[in-house]
Amino acid sequence: MESTLRSCRRCLLPATVPGLTIAESGLCDICLVTPPEAELAQQRAEIRHELERIVATHRDVEPYACVVAFSGGKDSSYTLKLLVERFQLRCIAVTIDNGFLSKGTAENCKAVCGSLGVDHLMFTPNQQFVRKMYGISAVQEDMHAPAAIQRASSICNSCISLINTHILQKALELGAPLVAGGYLGGQLPRDAATMSIRPGQQARPRAALIKRFVRAFGDAARPYFSLGRSDADADREITVINPMLGFAVLEDEILHDIAQLGWKRPRDTGLTSTNCRLNDLGVYIHHRRHGFHAYAFEIADQLRHGLISREDATRKLNTLPEQTDIQWLADKIGVSTDVL
């Protein structure tokens, strides 16, 4: 029998999530099939073992073994630290400047890369294109696969697509066998902790994405989302690693460790981002449109793994951006708040 509870008593996922059922026990159907902590710990250990195996074969690659999607936020900063200090990889950190990075982000990028001795690239895509992409993503409801609403807001999903593509483009250009992201559980499937891909193998979803984005954003979108400039590129094997999926680290531990690298928390990025000011607009629109917080799945996963307190989770889920901030951000991407 279904419960009348408004959210799962364990992970706080709300009943407004499409397809989610909350049983009479008060647990959602995801919590009901989540293994006990000992088994989750075993799964994380297996991911770490697989990461060690992959990394061992690439440790000596020059100039770079790994291109890291480095937003300058807390999770990617911690990921970079793990890759350099624990896994001893030669990394290059790549940041996409979307025009909405907090002022503190550039300083954090410099501090973290400086402390870890890592080369850093900042890529600034055409800002007219980026704002158009954000503006259309904010108002057009079918920009992404229906299930993508579980991962992030529509604005963030478009941005993540651009970032992921750029990181793969950079790995192909530099001959790096690995790319890494700082994604957490709930942001993507756990199967994505380590995955070998060939651009040619993902040709069908990639072609569909390019077609959809070119239709929505115009021809200017093509170079930002295309891969595999040659047959050789299409056959190149690249291994994507998301090491955070193999570790259970409390947010406070992450903040403590990256503070040692000179990272400071920006004050202007809301409760759920530590690098981007536009994130709040995505959170606001997502909540209005779908009836749940864009970070609900990420926070739910952290609760199931015991990585966040119930109090902090509740505070994040219940704090929505201020209307004045929304107005300012909407203006910046040329969208009227009347249509949001």
């Binding site: 079918d142 299930a147 193998q201 069908r204 979803p205 994405l209």
Partner: protein
């Protein structure tokens, strides 16, 4: 080993729940699920992981790039073929 029709029903159930879609008027068993915007690159990883774990099959690079992987009918046919070792 599941019969092809049963297999297709099981995969339909998975797609419906996992990708928040309904098969019916707009989506048929022959719809290209990539072109229809149902499966993106993360969804593809999810789908392949599910098929390999649930049905004990190993899908090669060529299998993943095959047009069969675009439709429900094709996916069921692919899994059935790999289960039978062809």
């Amino acid at each position: 080993m599941a019969e092809l029709a049963d297999l297709q029903d099981q995969i339909r159930d998975f797609l419906t729940k996992q990708f928040l879609i309904e098969f019916g008027k707009d989506l048929t068993d022959e719809t290209d699920l990539f072109d229809a915007g149902v499966i993106d690159s993360y969804g593809f990883i999810d789908l392949v992981g599910h098929l390999e774990k649930t049905y004990g099959v190993a899908l090669s690079d060529d299998d993943l790039a095959s047009p069969d992987m675009s439709t429900l009918t094709g996916i069921a046919r692919m899994v059935s073929a790999r289960q039978s070792g062809s």
